[in-house]
């Protein structure tokens, strides 16, 4: 008898639901992870590595489809293929009614890029896919040189753990349900500028030594993330028109929830916190910004504060009334809600953290970087070995904030190398 194949499908997790609804031609909700090697990429080996990697990440084989009430992932048997880079950075991936995979693997000269639609997973989830891909690439490409000490692959979690919808799991465990979140509802300063041609994303990557930035951060008695966040505030302030100073600058900072709720999911599992600084009432000196940002981070990163916000987000999704709204209307509502929420945020800064690969590979890998499609100049950063890469993506032609940011670092004797797609 013929084997009958049933088609598997999955619900989207809480954080994913917003992404398909809020795609625009500027902000495609796509992010890119890049790994730069010392040698030119071999596409055939990359394809082989991809074929191996996809087997450990079944969710990556899904396509996104529209139901009557919700979007859902449907498993597919599409084979992902590596391609040479031929589209702008973070070009759209999800196109309504087109059933394609929600990620792409592209290469160019020495770089391997993984571009992912955010509904599929977040930065940390996809970095994991990237690490596995690079692992396979390394072990095939440098088999002879590594022959003595090929490191073992680190799967980190079972397939089902990776497929886990962690939001769903923690929903009933969230404490502090009845506390109201104290987020301010004031309008934030918005950066304006001239759009790039064809709404393309302008990417400017600055790579530098982790140690030198850490030393500078330590001089101010703070951490790398707090220091760079403060420097971002400072750079935004420097380019702010004087009549707009009445609005506070509010940065949204994504929080990786895996460390707070013991999850090993390869799907979305993050929340955000808002860090605000009012230049109208406070000193524009970097020292005082750092002091204030430091406090906000401490407050925002307590489990209590995170859970209050999380519960609020999830209760909306669980509300029976919101559930039965047809998808088209839901999309519209989400668009409006997103727009309102957006008024309270200036931009985003996101630190993916340190990327660890087996030490045996370090002679072949130069650096990792991450960037994301952006409505406004925004920062994403990550580090590998002693290479810190800070990526600015922006829909605007102006590069003043970027210049102020990097010039501050170079004026403090940090050597910065810039790469740009424009």
């Amino acid at each position: 008898m013929k084997q009958k194949k049933t088609i598997k499908w999955r619900r989207l997790d809480n954080a994913s639901k917003i992404f398909p609804a809020t795609i625009t031609s500027i902000d495609t909700k796509v992010f890119r992870l890049s790994c730069e090697l010392y040698d030119t990429i071999d596409p055939e080996i990359l394809q082989k590595s991809l074929d191996l990697t996809i087997e450990s990440f079944p969710l990556y084989k899904s396509v996104l489809r529209r139901g009557i009430f919700w979007y859902y992932f449907e498993s597919s048997d599409i084979k992902p293929e590596v391609e040479i880079e031929s589209l702008p950075v973070c070009a759209p991936i999800y196109i309504k009614e087109k059933r394609n995979l929600l990620f792409r693997v592209i290469y160019y000269n020495k770089r391997i890029n993984l571009e992912v639609f955010h509904a599929l997973t977040d930065g940390s989830g996809s970095m994991w896919f990237m690490e596995t891909l690079i692992y396979h690439y390394m072990t095939i490409r440098y088999k002879d040189k590594l022959s003595d000490d090929i490191p073992k692959i680190n799967y980190k979690a079972s397939i089902s753990e990776k497929m886990d919808d962690s939001f769903e799991k923690i929903h009933n465990k969230i404490e502090n349900r009845n506390k109201k979140s104290k987020r301010n509802k004031e309008k934030a300063y918005h950066i304006k500028g001239n759009k790039n041609d064809e709404n393309r994303t302008r990417l400017i990557e600055g790579s530098m030594s982790v140690k030198s930035v850490l030393d500078l951060a330590h001089k101010y008695n703070t951490t790398l993330t707090v220091f760079l966040t403060s420097l971002f505030f400072y750079s935004i302030y420097k380019e702010m028109p004087s009549n707009k100073v009445i609005y506070p600058v509010i940065l949204s900072v994504p929080i990786n929830l895996r460390q707070y709720y013991e999850s090993a999911t390869a799907r979305n599992f993050f929340s955000t916190m808002n860090i605000s600084y009012d230049f109208n009432k406070n000193s524009p000196e970097l020292e005082s910004i750092i002091e204030s940002v430091n406090d906000s981070f401490k407050r925002g990163l307590t489990k209590e504060e995170i859970s209050i916000h999380l519960y609020k987000l999830m209760s909306l999704e669980k509300n029976p009334f919101t559930r039965i709204i047809p998808l088209g209307l839901k999309d519209l509502t989400l668009k409006i809600a997103n727009h309102i929420n957006d008024r309270r945020i200036t931009t985003t800064i996101s630190n993916i953290g340190q990327i660890k690969m087996p030490t045996e590979f370090q002679d072949y890998i130069h650096q990792f970087s991450i960037c994301v499609s952006a409505r406004r100049p925004q920062i994403t950063l990550c580090s590998y070995k002693d290479n810190l890469v800070i990526s600015f993506t922006s829909p605007f032609e102006e590069t003043d904030i970027q210049r102020t940011f990097f010039k501050y670092l170079t004026s403090n004797n940090i050597e910065v190398t810039i790469t740009s797609n424009f």
Binding site: T6, I7, W9, R11, E36, T40, R65, G67, I68, F69, W70, Y72, E74, I84, E85, S86, L87, P88, V89, I95, K96, E97, K98, Y108, N109, K110, R111, D197, E198, L203, I204, G206, R323, I324, T399, Q402, R403, F406, K407, T410, S411, E415, V416, T417, I418, T419, S420, N421, F422
Partner: protein, 221 residues
């Protein structure tokens, strides 16, 4: 690597001006680094055919009204030109719409052709041809076309059963025409009803499980 004296910054990939301050960079001969990003030329989406069609449609409407004013006729025929063009465009839009896959386009066409035929039949003095022939024949042909395209395009059953089912139910609608005595030629309607019932039965018997799965998936709350 090039160096910008103003920004005190190193710049990878050869370029004339600094990425950050746009000052002209000193020429350095050390360009060994390969390009990090490809140069991607702008996309020109060409919609020339559609633009020409839109232009012709507008010109045709304006000319027909102009002629009608110069040489008045008893029938308001320019209005018919507008309706005719609108009908063509309605059909075209559904066909040309990107992303819609074949079965969906076919079901849309059935809707549009049925409604338009009723409209035209009514507009040029009710003769009943829309209900007599057009609607039943459209439903039956859609069923046949859907089956053939599914085979040619090798669509998985789940890709088209929902649409086949919708079309099947539409094909039963002519039963109302007979019951309420709206038609004087009953053969096309009978054929349509019979084929639809057989096709729905086939779908439920052979693909009942798939239908259940599809509905579960699409209707989950």
């Amino acid at each position: 690597m090039q160096y910008c004296n103003h920004c005190k910054i190193y710049i990878k990939n050869k370029r004339e001006r600094c990425t950050l301050c746009e000052n002209i960079l000193p020429d350095s001969n050390d360009y060994k680094d390969s390009k990090t990003f490809p140069i991607i030329s702008p996309f020109y989406e060409s919609h020339l055919v559609i633009k020409i069609l839109v232009f012709i449609s507008i010109a045709a409407i304006v000319i027909s009204f102009a002629i009608n004013i110069i040489f008045p006729a008893t029938v308001n025929w320019p209005l018919l030109v507008i309706f005719g063009l609108l009908s063509i465009w309605l059909g075209l839009i559904v066909i040309l719409r990107r992303g819609y896959h074949m079965p969906k386009k076919i079901v849309w066409q059935v809707f549009i052709i049925s409604l338009l035929s009723i409209f035209w039949d009514w507009k040029i003095g009710w003769k009943g041809w829309s209900l007599n022939y057009v609607i039943p024949i459209t439903c039956v042909s859609a069923m046949i076309i859907m089956y053939i395209t599914a085979k040619i395009l090798r669509l998985g059953s789940r890709d088209y059963i929902t649409y086949a089912l919708i079309d099947g139910f539409l094909g039963i609608v002519p039963i109302l025409f007979i019951v309420f005595n709206w038609v004087n030629v009953i053969y096309p309607s009978i054929i349509s009803i019979a084929t639809s019932i057989i096709s729905i039965a086939a779908i439920f018997i052979f693909q009942g499980e798939d239908i259940k799965l599809e509905l579960n998936k699409r209707m989950h709350i």
